[in-house]
């Protein structure tokens, strides 16, 4: 059976994360490090130390904004942004509850919206997300303002060939 480290490396499908020599350049440039309980460099170290479960249960993996500053600056080409994608997907597959629940709920609402119409309809995405998250009242004034300016149209053009879009969702469905 693969170790957690081996599994992560296999899914990243690039440079193995052991190549990291802990210069912490990724963390120095990370805009979210300040809000994370384990910074990006520490996540690599934790995976090397076999602390995968803690990593998957952390808020860090959800707080990463995928800005790709880390991979751009890593002297060893360790793809940390891709590693964060891999960790999020492993957490979902293993049924580990997302510590930042609303971030995952937003992603789910977003993808459900594409599955429904092929393209995002922003007002219906927001309603769906608010119902899922229970965060009903934030941004109401702003939403209303945008609606009055005509920036939120309830009906927007959608993809016609929805069969092909649904086929993509069916075939990429994770167990």
């Amino acid at each position: 059976m693969n170790t957690f480290l081996e599994e992560v490396n296999e899914k990243i499908n690039g440079v193995p994360i052991q190549r990291c020599y802990h210069c912490r350049k990724c963390t120095a440039g990370c805009p979210m490090a300040v809000a994370m309980e384990h910074n990006p460099n520490r996540v690599i170290k934790m995976i090397q130390m076999g602390r995968g479960e803690e990593v998957l249960a952390s808020a860090t993996i959800w707080l990463c904004v995928s800005c790709e500053t880390c991979i751009t600056r890593c002297p060893n080409e360790v793809d940390i942004a891709r590693m964060m994608d891999v960790l999020r997907q492993m957490a979902i597959e293993r049924g580990v509850a997302a510590k930042e629940k609303n971030i995952l709920k937003f992603h789910e609402a977003f993808l459900a919206n594409i599955r429904m119409g092929g393209r995002i309809n922003e007002p219906s995405l927001m309603v769906h997300y608010k119902l899922k998250s229970g965060d009903l009242f934030s941004d109401m004034a702003m939403g209303l303002d945008m609606f009055m300016k005509g920036k939120l149209s309830l009906i927007s053009p959608r993809t016609k060939d929805m069969k092909s879009v649904r086929r993509i969702f069916e075939k990429t469905k994770q167990a």
Binding site: T72, F106, R167
Partner: protein, 282 residues
């Protein structure tokens, strides 16, 4: 020139002034846009955060549709642009994945169409001299800080059309329009856009820092090529720090004397009209 046009979802909604200004500027510069037939969403951050194959298959569907025409693909949205470029990178470097994605999407991918942002097309194909010739109202007094954000230029081996750490093409375009570009070192610092709805408090700090740094550099507005950055910067900045935020194409249209800019300004959260009127640009 003729290009295949991928507006993406935002440009039909909250970023409609970006769509309209891209169309106006393209027409004025002789770029003919042909929308990709029956396009679908690229999946944005939510797909690659949660499902790798979905994140490649969704843009692949659009790429295969676009390849039916022999044109470059123009993608104004930085987030869509990044997903398309990343997909192209995966499909060209991983033959096994390519075969799997082709089966999922039900079509074959050639990799024949170049994926380009309008900054690249205007600066490198149309050319700054041709742009300058169209300027009828120089943007004198406008001091933009050009803001590229994360997704136009990272990672460098995927999105290489300008310098990764200190990109300059947008500055050159704005200078060609007669603006006095404010140099600053936060051009590619992240604004937190993808978490603007689901983790707002963290994002406000990031946006306020960018606004503070732009002010310190002497800027009186920010200029972007991304609907996510624009919405985030324009919506989330604290009131005492907020500067007007423009799409670069809105300013190009203004400088070229095209119809539209005043109406687009009405759609912004921070109204740019007082600034433009003070500078006698409106």
């Amino acid at each position: 020139m003729k290009v295949s046009y991928y507006p993406g979802c935002s440009l039909h909604g909250t970023a409609k002034e970006y769509d309209q200004s891209v169309r106006v500027v393209s027409r004025a510069l002789g770029i003919e846009l042909e929308e990709i037939e029956d396009w679908s969403c690229c999946g944005a951050s939510s797909a690659h955060n949660t499902n790798f194959k979905l994140s490649v298959a969704l843009p692949a569907r659009d790429l295969i549709a676009a390849e039916k025409k022999p044109h470059d693909i123009m993608i104004p949205c930085a987030a869509c642009f990044n997903r398309f470029k990343t997909t192209e990178h995966h499909l060209k470097h991983d033959q096994a994945l390519k075969a799997e994605i082709e089966e999922i999407v039900g079509g074959s991918y050639q990799g024949s169409a170049a994926i380009r942002n309008p900054i690249d097309i205007i600066a490198n194909t149309i050319g700054l001299d041709a742009l300058k010739e169209k300027v009828v109202k120089k943007l004198t007094g406008l001091k933009p800080a050009s803001y590229y954000g994360c997704l136009l230029l990272r990672p460098p081996e995927v999105c290489r059309f300008d310098d990764t750490e200190n990109p300059v093409l947008l500055d050159h375009i704005l200078s060609a329009l007669g603006a006095e570009v404010s140099p600053w070192s936060f051009k590619t610092d992240c604004c937190g856009g993808s978490l603007t709805i689901s983790k707002t408090e963290a994002v406000v700090t990031m946006v306020d820092r960018l606004m503070t740094m732009a002010r310190e550099a002497g800027a009186n507005c920010l200029v972007t090529a991304c609907p996510v950055c624009t919405a985030n910067l324009d919506m989330r900045a604290s009131r005492h720090l907020a500067l007007p935020v423009f799409y670069f194409t809105e300013l190009a249209a203004l400088a070229m004397g095209q119809e539209g800019p005043e109406g687009w300004c009405r759609l912004h959260q921070t109204d740019p009209r007082p600034l433009l009127k003070e500078l006698k640009l409106l």
